[in-house]
């Protein structure tokens, strides 16, 4: 009887190993990084070419055009990157003959969204309380945690990316004035680097 129990355990093991979400597209990582770089450039222009400093406006609780512009840039990058990731990963799943919505994909997405949503709400509270300097570190930190936990359900390289984002978030907290720089490295540079690694390692 133990033989049969062992048989079932073997099947389960193989299935789990095989159903890791391997459709995640490296190319979409590269593109997300490029969007982030463009976004960072636009944000840089918004912040440094405006008459008054954006931080000042924040502190006064003003919703200046600059702040709204920054939020629009941020959300556009987020939406564009998510859509690209979704479309390219679906395409890759089709190419691999896999179901896109396998149980691993579900688990991956939920373990990604929970920390990220917490981070998003936390960042809104920071803005509301006028702690703008900690927005970038907090975003990087929560994003890193989200990426790390999601990494359990896909290529293990993703976990490394998560750890790097976490370290970057902590560094950004030490240098709160340099948020945009860390943001550019974390969301731009690291995504391009990691996307390229994934692309050359698994997609060629």
């Amino acid at each position: 009887m133990t033989d049969y129990i062992q048989d079932l355990a073997t099947i389960r093991g193989i299935m789990e190993k095989r159903t890791k979400f391997i459709s995640l597209s490296g190319l979409s990582g590269i593109l997300a990084g490029i969007y982030a770089l463009i976004g960072a450039y636009l944000a840089y222009r918004t912040i440094y070419y405006s008459d008054k400093t954006v931080y000042e406006a924040y502190r006064n609780g003003e919703w200046s055009p600059e702040i709204i512009q920054l939020l629009v840039i941020g959300f556009s990058v987020l939406i564009l990157a998510s859509l690209t990731g979704l479309v390219l990963s679906m395409r890759k799943a089709k190419k691999l003959g896999q179901d896109f919505w396998n149980p691993s994909a579900m688990r991956m997405i939920s373990s990604f969204l929970v920390p990220l949503t917490a981070g998003g709400i936390f960042v809104m509270i920071l803005i509301w309380r006028g702690q703008v300097a900690y927005v970038a570190p907090a975003l990087l930190l929560f994003y890193g945690v989200a990426v790390y936990t999601a990494g359990n359900f896909t290529f293990s390289d993703v976990k490394t990316l998560g750890i790097m984002e976490i370290i970057l978030g902590l560094l950004a907290a030490i240098y709160p004035g340099k948020g945009l720089l860390f943001w550019t490295i974390g969301f731009g540079g690291l995504h391009i680097l990691y996307g390229a690694i994934m692309y050359f390692k698994y997609e060629r």
Partner: protein
């Protein structure tokens, strides 16, 4: 003890063949090389199991060339899928009966 389970599919009552079908249930086309490394088998060992599965018409073999290297790939047949699912069901019911 073994006699009580005679209605089990003899071809699948073997862990290596069962593992091969598990892989093929999930992935459409899998190469000889990949199965070999994934299950840590030797060429000869895997070949004998491939033969058994092909004879039962549970898998189809596709041979092609990648450059100059021959490339052998396998695909599960509908019959193979059915056999696998039934075998799984039997294993589960055997185990749950045993627990009672």
């Amino acid at each position: 003890m073994k006699k009580r389970f005679l209605d089990l599919d003899k071809i699948l009552d073997n862990r290596i063949r069962l593992s091969m079908l598990s892989i093929l249930m999930i992935e459409d086309m899998v190469s000889f090389k990949e199965i070999k490394s994934s299950l840590e088998l030797t060429d000869g060992n895997l070949a004998s199991h491939v033969k058994a599965l092909e004879k039962a018409e549970y898998i189809t073999i596709y041979k092609s060339f990648v450059g100059k290297k021959p490339n052998t790939e396998f695909k599960i047949t509908p019959l193979g899928k059915k056999a696998f699912k039934e075998h799984l069901k039997k294993l589960e019911s055997l185990i749950s009966q045993h627990k009672k």
